[in-house]
Amino acid sequence: MAADIKELVHPLVVRVTHWINVVALLLMVASGWRIYNADPIFDFSFPDELTLGGWLAGALQWHFAAMWLLVLNGLVYVCYGIISGHFRRKLLPISPVAVLRDVRDALRGRLAHDDLSVYNAAQRAAYLALIIALIVMVLSGLAIWKPVQLYWLASLMGDYEGARLLHFFAMAAVVLIVVVHVVMVILVPRTFPTMFTGRIRRAS
C-alpha cells in the first residue's frame, strides 16, 4: 500500500536563520545604501526610496543595530552548519566542472531540480559563495568600524580605504547572489513553501 510520506529537507534551524537573515540583510543593505549615499565611492547614488534611515544618522543607527541581528544569526547558522554536518552533506562535494555544467544547463532552462533534498552543483556554488561573501562583508564592516582597535583586520584589507572598497564589493556580491536566488525560486516556485514547512511530499 502506497502512502505519502513527508521528508524533511530543511531543518528548523536552517529555516529560522534563513528568514531572520532575510530581515537582517534587508535592513543592512537598505541602511548601508543610505550611508553610501552620504559620500558615494563611485559615480552613482542609490535611489533614496530604496534606502532606510531617512538621513545619515538614522541610517547609521539602523546599520549598527541590525548588525547584531545579522552577526548573531549568522553565527548560529554557521555553527549549526559545521557541527551538524549540514554543510558537508548539502554543499559538498563541489566540483568546478559540475558547477559549469549546471550553470550552462540553467541558462538554457534545462537545469533539473527534481529532488529538492539535493542541491545541484550550481546551487552548491551559489550558497557557498553567499556564505563566503557574507563573511567578507561582516569582516570588512568590522574593519571599517574599528580600523584602530582591529588594525590587524584592516591591514589585511589594505587599511581603512581598502576595507571600505571591499565592504562595497562584498555587498554587491551578496545582492547579486540573492537576486539570482530569488529569480530561481520564482522559476521553481514549489521550492518556496518548503522553506517554511521544511518538508516535501514523496510517494513511497
Binding site: 534606502t51 539602523w62 580600523p147 588594525y151
Partner: protein, 251 residues
C-alpha cells in the same frame, strides 16, 4: 564658571528640546520604505522603534568602550601620504568659518579641574609640543591624512589638575559646536590639543585657535575652535550626538 557652562548644556538638553529633536529625527528618520518593512514586525509604532534604535546606540557605546585599548596606537604615516588639500568639513560652509582674534582669546576651563584659570595662546604655544601624521575618518565614509601638532591632551589635563577619574570631558566651541568624549580617549597618547596644521598655526578653516585631534575617533568628535573645556561625570552629549549620531564613535 563650571556652573555657567553646566547651565548652558542643561539648557540645551531640556526635555522639551530633547523631545523636539526626537520628533524631528523621527520625521526625517523613517522613510516610507522603513515603515513598509516594519509593518510586518511587531514594532509598528515608530516612536518605539526610535527608542530601540537609541538604546542600541547606547549599547554600542558600551561595547566600544570595552573594545577601546588605551595603549593601542592609530597608524601613523610618512608626510608624503598627507592629503593635499586637506578637506574642510563642518556643519556650516567654509565661508561661515568663525573669525577669532587670537590676542583676545582665552581658553576657559571648568568642572572637575583644580586649577581652572583661563589659558592664553602664548602660554599654550610655550608648552611641550608633539606631532602626528594620522588618518582622519569622517562619519560620511571618506578619509584624509593630515599632520597636526600641539600639546598632548593628557599632559594638559595633568597640568591643570583635572580629575582624571571623572567619566567625561566636554567641549564648547566658538562656532556653537559642542561635543564630549570618554576620559580613556582623553588620556590616549595620540589625543592632542592641536595648535598647528602642517607646521603652521592652525588656519581658521581647520579650527583656529585649537582643535582636539583624536585619531581614535571619527572626525565629528574632533572639535574645532575650542572655547571651553570641562570635566564632568554627567554625559554632556554634543551637537551631532544629540541629533542621533553614535556618541562614542571610536575607530
Amino acid at each position: 564658571m563650571s556652573n555657567k557652562m553646566g547651565g548652558s548644556f542643561l539648557a540645551h538638553r531640556t526635555p522639551q528640546v530633547a523631545n523636539l529633536e526626537r520628533r524631528l529625527f523621527l520625521k526625517r528618520g523613517l522613510s516610507v520604505g522603513a515603515l513598509a518593512l516594519l509593518a510586518g514586525c511587531e514594532l509598528t509604532d515608530a516612536e518605539s522603534v526610535q527608542k530601540v534604535l537609541w538604546a542600541m546606540s547606547g549599547w554600542n557605546d558600551r561595547v566600544q568602550d570595552w573594545l577601546f585599548d588605551p595603549s593601542r596606537l592609530a597608524p601613523e604615516f610618512p608626510e608624503s601620504r598627507i592629503t593635499r588639500p586637506f578637506p574642510f568639513n563642518g556643519y556650516y560652509s567654509e565661508s561661515e568659518v568663525p573669525v577669532i582674534d587670537g590676542t583676545d582669546y582665552r581658553l576657559e576651563l571648568g568642572g572637575m579641574i583644580r586649577d581652572a584659570k583661563p589659558w592664553r595662546l602664548p602660554e599654550l604655544y610655550a608648552l611641550p609640543q608633539v606631532s602626528q601624521v594620522t588618518r582622519h575618518i569622517c562619519v560620511e565614509g571618506w578619509s584624509a591624512i593630515g599632520k597636526w601638532s600641539g600639546v598632548r591632551f593628557s599632559d594638559f589635563l595633568q597640568r591643570v589638575g583635572a580629575d582624571t577619574t571623572a567619566k567625561y570631558v566636554g567641549f564648547q566651541c566658538a562656532d556653537d559646536y559642542s561635543t564630549s568624549i570618554d576620559m580613556a580617549t582623553a588620556l590616549h597618547p595620540q589625543t592632542l590639543l592641536a595648535l598647528r596644521y602642517a607646521d603652521e598655526i592652525l588656519p581658521p578653516k581647520y579650527g583656529f585657535p585649537m582643535k582636539l585631534r583624536m585619531p581614535t575617533k571619527l572626525g565629528f568628535k574632533n572639535p574645532k575652535h575650542i572655547a571651553a573645556i570641562f570635566v564632568t561625570n554627567e554625559n554632556p552629549g554634543g551637537y551631532w550626538e544629540d541629533k542621533g549620531y553614535n556618541w562614542f564613535s571610536g575607530s
